[in-house]
Symmetry: C2
Subunit: 431 residues, 2 copies
């Protein structure tokens, strides 16, 4: 078998066999197949596509390119939840304790933020001492003993994917459905999941801008899961405006914790309950979604979800007092309430603009390895469809630098659009 | 400007500007743009195409990636002739002396054979002493003084093309019309040509297998020539069967020389006269093709073409006695006449199979730098459409190894197909 023949086959719209895909991924991972062949292959895949069968073979080959975690001796069913990323998406921090409180063990490896999209690990590190670098043994032990883990990727999971993603980024081969779907799914499979709930974000602040794209990606990932023998379900949720009110690491932690206290913004609470219900149902802790939803609601009402979060923070070395008293979180030096410049109905709060403004404030990183400022960010008071009066508080800026604050004010004001006529609220979920 | 944005533009079917193409070619040549970006770019070009304007910009950028020969002080019009390569194509060796004998100076840089297709330099080196490594100054001096040069590529002409070709070969990006056309034309332009006659081969023994592909390539190269301000014309000629009778370096030299003596196979002589007429007409040595054709015929009849070849060989250090007495050429140890296995009409002499059999005998090289055997090859006695009787001589094998001879016999026999019904001869030229 020769790499060039595999490229030629895909170039000529052929369907690759599992053996050909395995050969290519293995060769690329160990360096036998150079970058210049992998990049022309990626461009051929982007332009000519792959069937769900080929995409599944690619996913499995990438999952097997490194160690594959085996959780079968640790839990009866290893459930994972994946969000395709967005602005204000602190869902994992609330949903996982809810699910674990209902008796479904959840061990999750999360990522850091990149670009306008935040990352769960960065948010968790707003709690002093919280460790996101558990070893595989620590991961398994905590999952077995506590039933909940939320850490970074300690293992070299799916190294082919990391190498391929870096190459795609500089060769114009990022926006390919088969490449995106296999990149997400291979890490879930390598992480040991045998049941996966996918939260695919759609809209201005998501990688998938249109509902059609989001649906295509969701369907492809569900296909991959099914063909790879994993129970998989997908939700399509809105990311035109930020999720909830808080954008920024510590601010989002506070919101996630308040939600478990029974508070938090209505849209975020509803988002979490809906997602938790799907995870519980897929994890076979409820006979249907209605029962699963009731379980999730109960975990908030009886304080068990909050207790589980406290236990998680303590288990990973963080100070659990932060969970009980959110005033302990670091506050930014300057907090400014920006007032509505006019009356009207909110017709847009552009999620991507808000996300990028948060990065500019220091809440995120422009490139890998940049330091971040946990305290800065925004509280968005009004959502699309809300009525606002002139001079009513529109949003809050939390900043540690006055120049950046002024820039952020202009940016986030420009993210808001107003209408004289009433505007329907955005749906939380599309499907 | 960033390389990745240029790749993305072509991936999304955009039309690149001259500045973008220049930036990419320059960066690739000097190493700023790595191979993995060039290969994904090449795949995007292959799958999404380029307009003739983009292809011309690419051609000129590659021509300018190294030194560009200026022949304006050497000759009034620098004519070049290019063949897309094939089996038994010794045309340059006969046509260039004919043209030069008619008063049109021709300085040509040729290549070596690769794969099943022979190379002019390898054929010329069958004459002991013949130098194919003239310096640029020697090239210009000989062109001015003798009016004819036939040498190798001494200058680093169009280095971007050499680098790109090596990359395309291993990344599945060879069969792209814009990339093939620009690769051919950039070397002609860098070689100083301002009038170019293209002989595009079509058929089983050519890179272009169908007439449609050949016509597309020819039209694109004529477009490039026109847009780049070069007078360019193209002929489409048949390469389903070998051209002439001889295949193999010394055997082809003998045939080319015999043709200038007034002999040679009818099809090869006609091919040369037709091509020479086009070169003379484009080089403004005749008012129309009829007059040009008459000049070419006269150059054979009056011996001036043969005299010019003798002068060329002598000027480049070869022994001119070979031109007068072809029995001086090295002969293979074993010469076997293979007889027709049956009577009938010849319906196919598969050029590629014959070419590959010649390589296997030692006449060509499987990879760059392999040594070659000048004496070996074939004389094909019958052409498509000819009637042959059982046991009549069908072809001759010239070999230096009996095992290889036996293999070649089987191969070249399999290249011949017979029909009971009469078969029309193949045309020499399609258009």
């Amino acid at each position: 078998m020769r790499a060039v023949d595999i490229i030629i086959k895909k170039r000529d719209k052929g369907q690759l066999t599992a053996q050909e895909i395995e050969f290519f991924v293995r060769g690329f991972t160990n360096g036998d197949i150079p970058d210049y062949q992998a990049s022309s292959f990626a461009m051929a895949v982007l332009l000519n596509g792959m069937t769900p069968f080929e995409t599944t073979d690619l996913t499995l080959a990438m999952a097997r390119s490194g160690q594959v975690l085996d959780l079968s001796k640790v839990v009866d069913i290893a459930v994972d939840k994946h969000s395709s990323g967005g602005v204000g998406d602190k869902t994992s921090i609330s949903v996982m304790p809810m699910v674990a409180a209902c008796g479904l063990p959840v061990g999750k490896m999360s990522g850091r933020g990149l670009g306008f999209s935040g990352g769960t690990l960065d948010k968790l590190e707003s709690i002093p001492g919280y460790r996101v670098d558990l070893t595989t043994d620590e991961f398994k032990k905590q999952l077995k003993e506590k039933g909940i883990v939320l850490t970074g990727q300690s293992l070299d999971l799916a190294p082919a994917d990391g190498k391929m993603y870096a190459l795609r980024d500089v060769t114009g081969t990022v926006p390919s459905m088969p490449l995106i779907a296999s990149s997400i799914m291979c890490k879930k499979i390598a992480g040991g999941a045998n049941a996966i709930v996918l939260d695919v974000k759609v809209g201005l602040g998501a990688f998938m801008q249109t509902l059609e794209e989001g649906r295509e990606l969701a369907e492809l990932m569900v296909d991959i899961g099914r063909l790879a023998g994993r129970k998989t379900s997908a939700l399509l949720s809105d990311m035109n405006q930020p999720l909830g009110a808080a954008v920024g690491n510590a601010l989002e932690m506070v919101e996630a914790i308040e939600t478990l206290h029974g508070g938090g913004p209505a849209d975020f609470r509803e988002h979490c309950l809906h997602l938790a219900a799907h995870v519980l149902f897929l994890g076979q802790r409820a006979k249907d979604l209605t029962e699963a939803r009731a379980l999730a609601e109960k975990s908030i009402a009886d304080g068990s979800a909050l207790k589980t979060l406290r236990m998680l923070v303590e288990a990973q070395g963080g100070d659990p007092a932060y969970v009980d008293d959110v005033s302990k979180f670091e506050r930014a030096k300057y907090i400014e309430v920006v007032k509505a410049p006019r009356s009207g109905f909110i017709s847009q709060v552009h999620a991507r603009i808000v996300g990028e403004a948060a990065v500019a404030l220091g809440a995120g990183r422009a490139k890998k390895g940049d330091p971040i400022d946990h305290a800065v960010g925004f509280i968005i008071h009004k959502k699309v469809g809300d009525r606002v009066e002139k001079d009513e508080p529109l949003f809050e800026i939390h900043a540690n630098d006055q120049t950046k604050l002024a820039e952020a004010r202009n940016e986030v004001l420009s993210a808001h659009q107003f209408s004289d006529k009433s505007v329907p609220p955005l749906p939380l979920f599309y499907e």
